[in-house]
């Protein structure tokens, strides 16, 4: 038991949260706590102050059309919302276990910026827009410009992620795959988020995004380029080795991740080609 003695600033509204963020730029942000509490217990994070956002109800929830997701929306909320794309609901059901899905938040996953963050490739595949707010105002940053390096994001020290905005994607095919040690609880070895737009059997637009294979979640742009302009071609997956820089670590090896990244892309493309 290593209860942190750091002072906790508890915000109940967004306005309070932004004021506290501006006043305490070095404070650690707390949402559902499912990552932070582990880091504190392990001693890998020792906050000097904490801003607790959990009670900001206005940042939780999903609009009826499923297009805007509050940063404090939990994975359980996401998994149960009918207007959320099926691939994203499936992703929500693979984050940790049900107890973690009940507490962990969309915003926490995005801001925590782990290269293995389960949802991150899907935000890239969806061209999601992140709304960042501070006492200075609000700005919108595309997912593709948010993760700058290992656990480094575009968030300024006085900013909070408040909402995620999704575009309507019509008949686009969305895919999600997570490869881990087991289905429940596992931290991913490779995560795939993909989106294909087809016209008359030809791919006109493609997003192929991967997690756990580089310092940040990334788009596999060589694979995307190989897909566009042709019928769905499984061989496009071979280009992935030019897009990713996996490492050997506690969960897997670089060689394994290279092979599996290619194979999960092929498996997804194969399923889409068979529809």
């Amino acid at each position: 038991m290593l209860a942190s003695a750091a002072p906790v600033h508890r915000a109940h509204t967004l306005a309070e949260a932004l004021a506290q963020r501006a006043a305490h730029p070095h404070a650690t942000l707390l949402a559902g706590g499912t990552d932070l509490m582990v880091f504190i217990e392990l001693g890998s994070v020792a906050p000097t102050a904490i801003i607790d956002l959990w009670a900001c109800r206005e940042l939780r929830g999903i609009t009826t059309d499923g297009r805007t997701i509050g940063a404090l929306t939990t994975w359980t909320d996401l998994a149960r919302h009918a207007a959320i794309p099926a691939a994203l609901r499936e992703c929500a059901r693979t984050v940790g276990a049900p107890q973690i899905q009940n507490r962990g938040t969309v915003g926490g996953n995005i801001v925590n910026a782990s290269p293995a963050g389960d949802s991150l490739p899907l935000w890239l595949a969806l061209d999601a827009i992140f709304e960042l707010a501070s006492v200075r105002g609000t700005r919108h940053v595309p997912a593709s410009e948010f993760w700058l390096g290992y656990r480094k994001t575009a968030l300024a020290t006085d900013e909070l992620l408040t909402r995620v905005h999704l575009h309507p994607h019509g008949d686009d095919r969305l895919g999600y795959r997570k490869v881990g040690t087991r289905r429940a609880q596992a931290i991913s070895k490779v995560v795939l988020g993909g989106r294909l737009r087809l016209r008359d059997g030809i791919v006109t637009d493609a997003r192929v995004a991967l997690g756990s294979v580089a310092a940040t979640p990334i788009r596999a742009r060589h694979v995307e380029a190989a897909l566009v302009g042709h019928p769905i071609d499984l061989a496009a997956a071979d280009a992935v080795t030019r897009d990713i820089t996996p490492i050997d670590d506690i969960r897997s090896t670089a060689a394994y991740r290279n092979t599996v990244a290619r194979n999960v892309i092929r498996a997804w493309l194969s399923e889409e080609a068979g529809r």
Partner: protein, 158 residues
């Protein structure tokens, strides 16, 4: 002081705000039914309900329980009668060494409140964050899927 209710009892605790809810329950409130297994949200032994929602109490700072309604395994029985899922665990042999059992019972209660007659697959998914090293899980799934079915096979009007 941080105030909340546990098993319908109002409490006020003086622990530092980032204390783990699990430690406050066990050490300050002496509700030792919730167990610490892994301490990092992987095993489910410390599962409690906050406003009816299952969480691993090792990952919840006590400040976030403020104003909430908590249920621990001690709160499942009422008026001296065990909860039907506790009866079912006894009937089906769902517990062996017992350290994971409180977490399974609380998680099962959340599931049964939401879905009184779960399929085996639903029960497996709901309990996927609870680890048991003794039973092999089959008897736990037996217990949860038949908890609200009376011994004569009819649905128990709880």
């Amino acid at each position: 002081m941080i105030r909340f209710t546990v098993n319908d009892r109002d409490v006020a605790v003086s622990a530092p705000p980032m204390s783990r809810l699990l430690d406050v329950l066990r050490e300050e409130l002496r509700l030792t039914g919730s167990k610490e297994g892994c301490g990092e949200g992987e095993c489910g032994a410390c599962t409690v309900l906050i406003d009816g929602v299952a969480v691993t109490s090792c990952l919840v700072p006590v400040i976030q329980a403020e104003g909430c309604r908590l249920t621990t395994v001690e709160g499942l029985a009422s008026d001296g009668r065990l909860h039907p899922v506790q009866e079912a665990f006894i009937r089906c042999g769902g517990a062996q060494c017992g350290i994971c059992t409180p977490g399974f019972l609380v998680m099962a209660k959340e599931l049964l409140d939401r879905s009184p007659h779960p399929t085996r697959e639903e029960a497996r998914e709901a309990l996927s964050g609870n680890l048991c090293r003794c039973t092999g899980y089959q008897k736990i799934i037996d217990a949860v899927t038949e908890a609200l079915v009376a011994p004569n096979g009819s649905a128990d009007a709880r």
